[in-house]
Amino acid sequence: MIGFIVLAAVLGLGLVGWFSARTRARLLYTGRGSLHSTPGYHGWHMALWIVIPALLAFATWSSIEPGLIETSVMSDPAAAALPAGDMERESILAEAHVIAANPGTAAFNPLSAQLAEPMRAAQSRFDLIGAALVVLFAFAGGGYGFTRIRAGFPARTRVERGVMLLLLAASLMAILTTFGIIASLVFEAGMFFRDVSPLDFLTGLHWAPANAVGDDLSSNFGAVPLFWGTIYIGAIIAMLVAIPLGLMSAIYLTQYASPRLRRWLKPALEILAGVPTVVYGYFAALTVAPLIRDFAAAMGAENPSTESALAAGLVMGVMIIPFVSSMADDSIAAVPQAMRDGSLAMGATKSETIKRVLLPAALPGIVAGVMLAISRAIGETMIVVMAAGAAARLSLNPFESMTTVTYQIVQLLTGDQEFNSPKTLSAFALGLVLFIVTLILNIIALRVVKRFREAYD
């Protein structure tokens, strides 16, 4: 609660600082060239010096405050009665926290009620200290900033640098988050590989994490069926749909469609990319999968399953079409008109020109598009969760249910799970493998695209 007030106060102080510094700088103005920077820059310089140190102080305090509160609550006589066990102890403290925030809440454990009062006291004490610290930093920064308001002070340069650092921090945030994700993946996967050998994981043919107890761990964590399911659905069935359809629609749109038709068709195709994957998921599960089951039954299969690799793969292929077609469209359109004219002037027909000149010239871009599409397909989750099934099966029969890496990750991490069992940790190992594969595909695709662009510029 007090946090919002403090933040508002800091911003208010910043505003006050901005106005006062600007006003003061104006007083220094005696004629053209008398000030290094305009008064506005002095205002911003001051405001940055108030807001940034105060916000840093606020962030630091917010991260150490809970620890301080707990230490202080522990020193309360009532805390001596806390049980030693980690889980119980933490649940009591958590309950005390809730009661402290909402007085009058009934306590499940009487001890929580006793601890609530000291906790509330500690909280308000440390909140006040924190607020005072933040305001102190704001004033200290502001005081420093105010002494800088002199005619020759390069406030403009400093503010520019401040803006640059702010933007840098914003972009680093995204990168650091990515690194954080990678680090947590690697760390958790490392925990998993202490129990299960990576070789067994990557080459084993039997996947049954539910049976994995005791010493027999490795034999139940063979991920090959999952890899196979992922590749079969995402890279084979889906691509058999997406590559021909995407490529042909790109050729039609760039070479045959009239400009007016193209203006309508291209956005319509791109709408496919905007359909939420969960919608594709129930389309696959409710519409396509039963059709395929009936088809399989008509072909004479016994007890065909409703969930099938084919249903998931087909719908995924449709989902991927816009990726393939828009990359192919771009790279075909990038082939110089002169090359097309050259071929037509030789007496080649339109389709000969496309087949022999345009497609070979556009091939690198098309390949890159396909790779991006594959990396998108194998990371796709909703469709396979809804339509592919849970059975880890090594099979070539597209009518059978199959499972994928993403589906298993969902399975392993949803619901109540212990976070230190190999079963749960295996999800991170799967995630790591998926991440590495899509990363490699993306890197290759980007390099191919880059080289291709250079060729025609």
Binding site: M339, D341, S343, E352
Partner: protein, 254 residues
């Protein structure tokens, strides 16, 4: 104009949508010599050239009216096969545009799509002959598998000429073939045009009046979509009949 002309155009108009780009042009183009189209930018000379092998078909709203005949056959008639027409009327473009294939495959492209060679030996022969005629053979014979795009600009343009003559056309249209080349490469192409003219009817669009004077025997001067004057090159340049031609040639405008 001695024998029966190779190409005849009568009252040709070319429209781009509602805009008239060529107005009532009639011309006879003869075998065995070079005809140059000159005129200021935007005068329609390239547009008219492109209507001679129906390359204007590739532009969505282009329309050609009037009559253009190749050996007495109307090329805009419904029965005319555009593919066959373009095999007979080849074209070389302003900017060298070799295909992203090897030197050999660039030249073999036309013979292959038109099925001119039976077997590898015959194709090798066609490619070699075309490269020799284009004056490129000695420079590339040891690296026929290299990419056509790896050649220099002048070599690329001669490769495009070799590509055009590999299908044994009767007419070769050249749309400012030297405008992207340096003077030495230009001189080579002009020499080549001079050698080729005995076997083909060559039509060349050029910006450079000196080039027209050097390589052509007939010259047509275009201005604002009409053909102002057409005649022997020496006559057009030294003794033009029309005032506008004279103004252009003496550098009054353009």
């Amino acid at each position: 104009m001695s024998e029966t002309p190779k190409l005849t155009a009568r009252n040709v108009d070319v429209w781009y949508g509602p805009k008239k780009a060529i107005d009532n042009v009639s011309i006879d183009i003869d075998n065995g010599l070079v005809t140059a189209f000159i005129g200021p930018s935007g005068c329609g000379k390239s547009t008219f050239l492109r209507s001679l092998n129906r390359m204007n078909d590739t532009i969505a709203d282009a329309r050609v009216t009037g009559e253009i005949k190749l050996d007495g056959e109307d090329i805009y008639a419904g029965t005319m096969d555009v593919v066959a027409l373009r095999a007979r009327v080849g074209m070389v473009f302003q900017k060298p545009n070799p295909f992203p294939k090897s030197i050999f495959e660039n030249v073999a492209y036309g013979p292959r799509i038109h099925g001119l060679a039976q077997g590898k030996g015959e194709m090798d022969l066609i490619v070699e002959k075309a490269l020799i005629r284009a004056g490129l053979w000695d420079e590339v014979k040891d690296r026929l598998t290299d990419a056509g795009t790896a050649l220099s600009g002048g070599q690329q343009q001669r490769l495009c000429i070799a590509r055009a003559i590999a299908v044994s056309p009767e007419v070769i249209l050249m749309d400012e073939p030297c405008s992207a080349l340096d003077p030495i490469a230009t001189a080579k192409i002009e020499e080549l045009i001079d050698e080729l003219k005995d076997n083909y009817a060559i039509v060349i669009v050029t910006h450079s009046m000196q080039q027209a004077a050097r390589v052509s025997q007939r010259t047509a001067f275009f201005h604002l979509g009409s053909m102002v004057e057409y005649g022997e090159t020496s006559q057009v340049f030294t003794n033009p009949r029309e005032e506008r031609t004279k103004d252009y040639i003496t550098g009054r405008y353009g």
